[in-house]
């Protein structure tokens, strides 16, 4: 049999963002894949060094749409570490709530797109409708459907009064029943199983080799979660179960994401129960001395690391971040080999790649 090369991307109907895959195929089967990145590089890292610390809160939030809140939270944490700021206890809980609402919306979006790629659009619409509850929550509590604007240096800039707490609690409760149904469909539906079970397998040992993070790692049985390994904000005071699946295939990763939505809803309810009263941010405008810090968080796609160095001025001397998709997309080499051409978009989607924050 002869092999030949087909290009997928950088602009392709099945790809949500630009990425170039050079795929060697043997008939219908993928023999190897070459990944070529860099199509949406915008120089944001350099741009952050031209903007002051306040402007960067907004700028980092706009790196990525789906994990937008993880970026400013981690950035502010790094700044607070350098300045030695201890943020109020209530702010820690409010940061968890903001992060977990984004996780609900992000994970549901990814599993919905999975259904769409399979061609199961009625399921896609149903999951997106459930996700709409989270979107309405974000718009009601924070004022925007994507960019929450929840963070400031030294705390948060939104508060939950009794009315909003009731609303949030009700909406989370409302999602639970729908979510249980959706999880059941992803677990047991024959059409889903036909396209996703045993497709794009990343075995446990390969997952360790490639140091994948987030739901991709947990789908291959690696119980790594920054929220429990290196707790930040209020996570050490909350009960955070680490969700894992052992299949290592497209379905395992989707199931991890759906179960993590359930965990996220539970975490929001724990926060609402345990959150103390008090201030939501420190007063005044803090002075940021020269120094450097690393901050980590568990974004919806996995471990997000921020490195920040300051020189005593009001701008970062260097700001660098390592996003989870950077670790995950290399594992596509393993996942794609031996699969069919028609499964390529499905496998790419299963790592939930965020190309805009990886290439920034």
């Amino acid at each position: 049999m002869t092999t030949y090369t087909i290009p997928v991307g950088p602009l392709h109907v099945a790809l949500e963002e630009p990425m170039y895959f050079k795929v060697e195929v043997n008939g219908e089967t993928v023999a190897s894949v070459d990944i070529n990145a860099g199509h949406v590089h915008r120089g944001v890292e350099y741009l952050t060094m031209q903007r002051n610390f306040y402007q960067n809160i907004t700028l980092t939030e706009r790196l990525c749409s789906l994990c937008s809140n993880s970026h400013p939270t981690t950035y502010c944490t790094a700044l607070e570490t350098i300045a030695g700021i201890r943020i109020p206890e209530r702010a820690h809980y409010l940061r968890v709530i903001a992060d977990e609402i984004k996780r609900v919306a992000s994970n549901l979006f990814n599993v919905a797109i999975m259904a769409h790629i399979i061609g199961f659009d009625s399921l896609f619409m149903h999951v997106m409708e459930t996700r709409e509850v989270a979107q309405d929550v974000k718009e009601t509590i924070f004022g925007n459907r994507m960019d929450l604007g929840a963070n400031r240096i030294g705390g948060v800039r939104y508060d939950l009064d009794a009315k909003n707490q009731d609303y949030l609690s009700q909406q989370m409760e409302r999602m639970k029943a729908d979510l249980a149904e959706i999880l059941d469909i992803y677990r047991n539906n024959a059409m889903i199983a036909l396209r996703t079970v045993g497709v794009g397998v990343l075995p446990h040992d390969k997952a360790l080799d490639y140091a994948v993070v987030g739901p991709v790692a947990r789908g291959s049985g690696i119980a790594y979660d920054v929220r429990t390994k290196a707790p930040y904000a209020a996570y050490d005071r909350l009960d955070v179960p680490v969700v894992t699946e052992t299949g290592g295939d497209v379905r395992a990763r989707a199931l991890v994401r759906l179960r993590e939505v359930q965990v996220a809803i539970d975490l929001i309810q724990q926060c609402l129960r345990d959150m103390p009263d008090g201030p939501i941010a420190i007063g005044g405008l803090p002075r940021i001395p020269a120094g450097e810090a690393i901050a980590k968080s568990e974004a919806p796609r996995g471990e997000l690391i921020y490195y920040l160095r300051t020189d005593g001025s009001d701008k970062p001397e260097r700001l660098k971040w390592r996003v989870p998709s950077y670790m995950n997309w290399d594992a596509l080499h393993v996942m794609m080999e031996g699969n069919r051409i028609s499964d390529i978009p499905l496998i790419v989607n299963s790592i939930d790649p965020c190309i805009s924050c990886t290439e920034r």
Partner: protein, 166 residues
């Protein structure tokens, strides 16, 4: 649950989308939309322009006073300006009707002029501290604070040295 049952249930529920533009649509109170500026409350500290990531806010001195200009087409509606504004002279309203014709793009601005005051001491032109700011700084005012508010920074320093007998 069986997918067909779920579809039947969704069919019975009817459409989930809003009827807009023929009906009302979901607009929560906290929505970050069109920006409104109140010159009566502005102290001219320019912190809003400092924190604005998109450089959408500009101040310039005009004959009428300090002019505030915000370009809605540059604004990201992040709300940092409102958050850091001590006197809340900037407010993000829940008005999201920002669609406009190409020819109107330069008119999509919010503008206001902070009227200058004359110093009660030397008569020079100054940006007067607004009552909202002194209320924040001193809570309950007194006659001395009220008097100091009418002075320019130089006269205020003089008044501080001489114990307010200017």
């Amino acid at each position: 649950m069986n997918m067909l049952m779920l579809l039947l249930r969704n069919l019975a529920r009817g459409p989930s989308t809003d009827a807009f533009p023929f009906g009302d649509t979901f607009t929560p109170e906290r929505l970050r939309g069109r920006i409104r500026f109140d010159p009566e409350l502005c102290t001219g500290c320019r912190l809003c322009a400092h924190v604005c990531a998109g450089d959408a806010i500009h101040f310039d001195e005009t004959d009428e006073g300090l002019r505030f200009t915000l370009w809605h087409n540059t604004c990201t509606f992040c709300g940092l300006c409102e958050h850091y504004c001590q006197t809340k002279a900037i407010h993000l309203t829940d008005d999201w009707h920002l669609a406009h014709l190409q020819q109107d793009k330069y008119a999509m601005i919010e503008q206001g002029v902070v009227a200058p005051a004359a110093c009660a001491g030397c008569g020079c032109r100054m940006t007067a501290p607004v009552p909202a700011l002194t209320a924040l700084a001193y809570r309950a005012g007194n006659r001395r604070i009220e008097h100091l508010q009418t002075l320019c920074p130089d006269c205020r320093r003089k008044a501080g040295v001489t114990g307010g007998r200017s």
